[in-house]
């Protein structure tokens, strides 16, 4: 019982364009099959150099402005200081500004009146083109009616309430942001904004300690001037405010804004509810698994001790599996969903879950969990690079990092540390991307706990150490310090500071590069793990050994890659759940088309091979053969009558023919054609059988085989008629005298095995076919390692893989063929499947007394002896010497060095890291040096805001606007420029 998946083979590295889309958190475009629509879409995209200005308070930043309808996006040159992604439908006005000569600037106003000024610094025609694209795209949005939707959509966003409220802030909420049940009169307007369970069940953590009110104030100020929800502009201050922890009330919305899931919700209004409605009452393995986990998802949170929370969680998880039936439900998704539902509505959570599982944590929850395995490998490699001492120690005591780090990544630390802290990591993760998980991970374990980690001797101690550390996150990092400000710094604060300061070297690009580097290795190990499992789980190997079964598996796998079997048809879910022993993954079975592909890998006659010579090259073009005989074999091997074959069926089927001797083969061939298994062939079946012969022998050189088949038919009908029961004669096999054949129906029993055997043995060619050639026509040889989806060999490999694509090879072949034809050197020869008899005249009957070796020497063509004795299919092509180029080369799996030397990494980074490590080997950094202004937390009172700000300042980084002073002057001018008339 085994499931075989080729899903990993379909992985494609994202294109540059896709990376841009990912960077800007754009939702993937609906795959429209329409190629022209796609093309026109491509042509409406463009990016341009630009300088962004916003009011007086923010610096101007140089960067790139992208138009990717229906979005407009900007990123500063350093790719982190400033960026935004806003739907075009939120833009109400675009004006060209009247500025100094040679300056091309646009002023764009959003629906709420925020003015963004962009100076297009490319050449004039480029800027003109950009403007016209922008104009067109805006028109399209207007026509689609998107502009009208904005107002209603933003009502669902809490930020709008914040910015519109008077400075006295909301009266109807507690300090922690949860709602005070409405006891006042109608002053509280109807709540239209989305919110999570926290509104009712309270948010985790002490709001005083979290300084919620100050944070809300700071955010309100920021959102007033920098846009919010759909129109949020992310300036450095935004990132810093995120790093000190989002306020509970705003958290859900900021999560969806920062992650980009808000664009999905905006683009698909009502989808979530419809999805649930359509699938009402549908159950599946996934929904059953979900059911089991509902009560173990953050059970300590009050909301999940009530049906309200449980039901919301159930709906969101189910909706996700309805939308992604291939991914289904994976444990750990329940943790994520439960966490985000505290802060956001079901619909918001649904889309965020989609972004998390699809884009931010790619492949983490897939059936093979390849993304998880890959990132664990990447994590280990980063540890090796940045914290080699710890890495070496772990190697020495044979402890795997993953035993602890796996859940960190799978559930975003939510399961590992107290929720309040985990959510702050989630804040940073959604704002700054997956690198955060690695930065925090590296620091948490390795840096800060370095000294203790060097003491651990086994997995258990490692886990316990981590558990204790996470439990202490709220404690003071420097409890014995005499400085009260130092004492106020928590272990968690220190963790974040160290993460972002010292491990800022771990960039998005490094993560991507590392993933590329290890992807092949991971896919290979997943696949070989699956292969070993499949072979182990075979009920019987037959007479094969494991290596041979492995070769069958390889051929099957290759065939499945080329022609994917139809998705396993699971019985309708209602039936599914009643059976006592359903599996999550039903056994993989292949259909007829995939089987043909499979067989063409193994049986010489199941493929058409043309040897092509065109004066430049000799090659074999291989195609899958089509014949009723192959269909017959398919159904013959389908013993369970599934209409599809499993790996076991193939192994048993091959076992039934590859080890046969003469008599067994004759019987096998007979049975194959005896459809009703009554021990007799009908007349029709005899004809079909003859056709099968002709099919197998179709490319044999000379007419020896043709003659044999025609003699077979003559004899078969002669004996058959002679033995017909209607003749009222005792069936005497030795009586070879033909009697007058009585006309019989074509579907009547006609020829039995004994007679068939006799007829076959009467012919030397057929005899040798059944004696050896039939069994030998099935060949298990190692297939060349298929190209893995990613190249591991850096630039060169990339280059080569783009050149050596299949279609390029085809083009090259066609090209040389054409030339070959014009110079008269083009020649195509069909390669024989058996290739034993290559004479032009028929052998006499019963020449078969000759030994095979003698027979060989009789053949007229000069044959290379090696081809002859080892592999039949090559024997007739001896003069051609084709094989060398096409024979599978030795396994060529790209080898990744075990030790994982990071030679590909930029030298500079390595040096930086080395310097870091040297400076403070595991010593806990004196964070107080950088935190001079931090006030004692116990000094409560009015300076709450300042405290938050101090913490914010701790995250200050140098932000390079990428502009010279002169540039800045120009940009400043623009703030006061008038629109062009």
């Amino acid at each position: 019982m085994s499931t075989i998946s080729t899903a990993l083979r379909h992985f494609k590295e994202p294109t540059k364009e896709q990376l841009t889309e990912i960077f800007f958190s754009l939702p993937p475009l609906e795959p429209t099959g329409d190629a022209s629509a796609k093309e026109s879409h491509e042509s409406s995209k463009m990016d341009i150099n630009a300088v962004l200005s916003l009011g007086e308070t923010e610096d101007s930043y140089a960067g790139k402005l992208h138009i990717m309808p229906p979005y407009l996006a900007f990123s500063s040159l350093d790719k982190k200081s400033v960026r935004f992604t806003i739907p075009l439908s939120t833009i109400r006005r675009v004006e060209r500004l009247n500025a100094r000569a040679g300056v091309y600037a646009l002023s764009m106003s959003t629906w709420h009146g925020m003015k963004i000024i962009v100076q297009l610094t490319s050449l004039r025609p480029t800027a003109d083109l950009f403007c016209s694209l922008l104009r067109d795209a805006l028109k399209v949005e207007l026509q689609r009616g998107q502009m009208k939707l904005v107002k209603n959509f933003v009502k669902t966003c809490y930020s709008e309430v914040l910015v519109s409220e008077s400075s006295t802030s909301a009266d109807n909420e507690r300090e922690d942001g949860s709602l005070i049940p409405d006891e006042k009169d109608g002053t509280t307007q109807e709540v239209t904004y989305h919110g999570g369970l926290g509104l009712k069940f309270k948010f985790p953590g002490d709001p005083k300690k979290l300084r919620e009110a100050s944070k809300i104030k700071l955010w309100t100020t920021y959102l007033r001037t920098h846009g919010r929800n759909l129109t949020l502009l992310r300036y450095p201050q935004c990132t810093r405010l995120v790093q000190v922890g989002l306020p509970n009330r705003l958290r859900g919305e900021m999560w969806e804004t920062l992650s980009g899931s808000i664009y999905l919700r905006y683009a698909n209004p009502g989808y979530y509810d419809r999805l649930l409605e359509e699938h009402k009452g549908t159950t599946s393995t996934s929904t059953e698994d979900i059911e089991k986990d509902l009560h173990r998802s953050l059970p300590e949170y009050a909301g999940y001790q009530s049906p309200e929370g449980i039901d919301a969680l159930r709906r969101v998880l189910r909706a996700y599996t309805y939308m992604n039936p291939d991914l289904g439900y994976c444990q750990a998704m329940n943790i994520l969903a439960a966490a985000i539902l505290i802060y956001m509505s079901e619909e918001q959570a649904f889309w965020l879950l989609e972004v998390l599982c699809g884009r931010l944590l790619p492949g983490y929850y897939a059936p093979s969990m390849h993304g998880t395995l890959l990132d664990q490998r990447v994590f280990e490699s980063l540890v090796q690079k940045y914290l080699p001492i710890i890495h070496d120690h772990f190697q020495a005591v044979d402890v795997q990092l993953s035993v602890a780090s796996l859940p960190w990544f799978l559930s975003l630390y939510i399961n590992s540390m107290p929720m309040v802290f985990a959510f702050r990591i989630v804040d940073c993760f959604l704002c700054m991307g997956p690198k955060v998980l690695f930065q925090v991970g590296c620091v948490a374990i390795l840096k800060i706990n370095g000294e203790q980690l060097l003491q651990i001797q086994d997995d258990g101690q490692f886990l316990n150490l981590m558990r204790d550390y996470f439990a202490s996150l709220g404690d003071s990092a420097h409890p014995h310090s005499s400085d009260p400000r130092a004492r106020a710094i928590t272990v968690f604060q220190e963790l974040l500071l160290v993460s972002f300061r010292e491990f800022s070297v771990i960039t998005e690009d490094i993560i991507l590069a590392e993933r590329r580097r290890f992807r092949g290795e991971i896919i290979h190990s997943i696949e070989s793990f699956a292969k070993r499992g499949a072979i182990r789980n075979l009920k019987t190997l037959g007479r094969f050994n494991k290596e041979q079964a492995g070769l069958v598996y390889d051929a099957l796998y290759k065939a499945m890659c080329i022609i994917p079997p139809p998705p396993t048809v699971a019985p309708p879910p209602s039936l599914f759940t009643t059976g006592e022993g359903y599996e999550e993954k039903p056994e993989t079975r292949i259909g007829l088309r995939t089987f043909k592909q499979f067989l063409s890998e193994i049986a010489t006659w199941a493929r058409d091979e043309k040897i092509v010579m065109n004066g430049f090259q000799q090659r074999i073009d291989r195609e899958v053969a089509e014949h009723e005989f192959i269909d017959r074999l398919f159904y013959f091997w389908d013993v369970g009558c599934h209409g599809a074959l499993s790996f076991q069926d193939l192994v048993s089927g091959l076992d039934g023919v590859m080890f046969n001797d003469l008599m067994e083969n004759i019987e096998w061939f007979f049975n194959l054609h005896d459809k009703n298994k009554d021990g007799y062939l009908t007349k029709d079946e005899v004809l079909t059988l003859s056709e099968s012969f002709l099919f197998i022998f179709r490319y044999e050189v000379g007419d020896a085989y043709l003659g044999a088949v025609s003699r077979f038919m003559t004899n078969a009908f002669e004996y058959g008629d002679a033995l017909l029961p209607q003749n009222n004669k005792s069936s005497d096999a030795t009586d070879s005298r033909p009697t007058s054949p009585a006309p019989i129906a074509s579907n009547q029993p006609y020829l039995n095995l004994a007679t068939f055997r006799m007829v076959v043995l009467a012919d030397e060619v057929l005899e040798s076919f059944f004696e050896t050639d039939l069994s030998e026509s099935f060949k298990l040889h190692p297939l060349p390692e298929m190209e893995l989806p990613s190249s591991n060999s850096g630039i060169l490999g990339d280059l080569w893989s783009t050149i050596a694509t299949d279609s390029n090879k085809k083009m090259f072949n066609m090209f040389t063929d054409e030339i070959g034809k014009t110079i008269g050197k083009h020649q195509v020869v069909n390669k024989p499947s058996i290739g034993r008899y290559t004479k032009l005249e028929e052998p006499k009957a019963r020449e078969s007394l000759l030994t095979p070796t003698l027979r060989k020497s009789l053949s007229k063509m000069s044959l290379s002896s090696s081809g002859r004795t080892t592999s039949a299919p090559l024997s007739s092509s001896s003069t051609l010497s084709v094989n060398t180029t096409l024979e599978p080369p030795a396994k060529s799996l790209p080898n990744v060095p075990d030790s994982g030397s990071l030679s590909a990494m930029p030298m500079l980074q390595a040096v930086n890291a080395a310097a870091l490590m040297e400076r403070t080997p595991f010593a806990i950094d004196d964070a107080k040096d950088d935190e001079d202004d931090t006030d004692d937390e116990s000094l409560d009172g009015n300076n709450n805001d300042d405290q938050v700000m101090d913490e914010v300042d701790a995250f200050l980084e140098a932000h390079d606007s990428g502009l010279t002073d002169a540039d800045k002057a120009v940009a400043n001018d623009l703030l006061h420029a008038e629109p062009l008339k």
Binding site: A332, M369, T372, L373, G460, Q461, R532, R536, G581, E584
Partner: protein, 258 residues
């Protein structure tokens, strides 16, 4: 880094034990019963594997079990090698009321025998026998006295016929004899257990303790600075980093060792 190793006291021997089996057969419940002698719907979500420890006295020696309770979902299967590598013992659990769970158990046993530590002691546990016993029959001596009826909660397997005096055996899908015969043939310890009543639970762990080559482990611990899991036979240099789906290094480099 000193060779304090893992043992807290000189006499205590550390044994790494992994629990495997189909989802919902009761792995976590078995562990909970063994570690804290209670039965309740488990609250701790298991991502990958849960890690628990429990001491077990055997004659004059104390064994300290490091227990890895693996996640049941099928897609976590490829992560299992990470947990059973270097394990000295495994408990493969199936559910006596679910025939397919024995098939899954057999497949785990095969995998362990081929891919895990060659000296691993494997026990097969047919759990939830309480469901197929007439209510009169009392749990075995090994079961703890308390917590028998209070555990009767909504999460218990459906179809439970409480107190019906007739034939609850009808729920049974795996005959004891069949599983016993398989276990004998495959060289496994065999128990029928109930995490709910406690029957057979402690027995698993004490029988495993008896069968573990303790002297061997101690020798290995003393000899090398490494951990006891090594059993002395591990080749550390060949270990690959990362979640290791490949076979245990001790198996060598056969092309296809399945």
């Amino acid at each position: 880094m000193a060779d304090s190793a893992s043992g807290t006291a000189d006499k205590s021997v550390q044994v790494k034990l992994v629990l495997l089996g189909e989802a919902a057969v009761g792995k976590s419940s078995v562990v909970l019963r063994f570690v804290s002698n209670e039965f309740q719907p488990n609250k701790e979500p298991t991502i990958g594997a849960a890690f628990l420890t429990q001491k077990c006295r055997l004659e004059d020696r104390i064994l300290r079990y490091e227990i890895w309770d693996t996640a049941g979902q099928e897609r976590f299967h490829s992560l299992a090698p990470m947990y059973y590598r270097n394990a000295q013992a495994a408990v493969v659990v199936y559910d006596v009321t679910k025939a397919s769970s024995l098939e899954k158990a057999k497949s785990w046993v095969k995998e362990l025998q081929r891919q895990a530590n060659p000296n691993i002691v494997i026990a097969l546990a047919g759990n939830k026998v309480d469901l197929v016993q007439s209510s009169a029959s009392s749990p075995s001596a090994a079961s703890p006295p308390e917590s028998e009826d209070e555990a009767d909660d909504a999460t218990a397997t459906p179809g439970e016929t409480a107190g019906s005096p007739s034939e609850p055996e009808s729920l049974r899908q795996v005959p004891r004899e069949e599983a016993q015969a398989y276990a004998t043939e495959a060289g496994l310890l065999f128990f029928e257990t109930s995490a709910k009543t406690g029957e057979g639970i402690v027995d698993i762990f004490t029988e495993i303790a008896k069968k573990i080559p303790i002297e061997h482990i101690l020798a290995a611990t003393r000899g090398t600075s490494g951990r006891p899991g090594a059993s002395g036979s591990r080749v550390e240099a060949t270990r690959q980093p990362g979640v290791n789906l490949e076979e245990d290094a001790t198996k060598g480099k056969d092309a296809c060792n399945c």
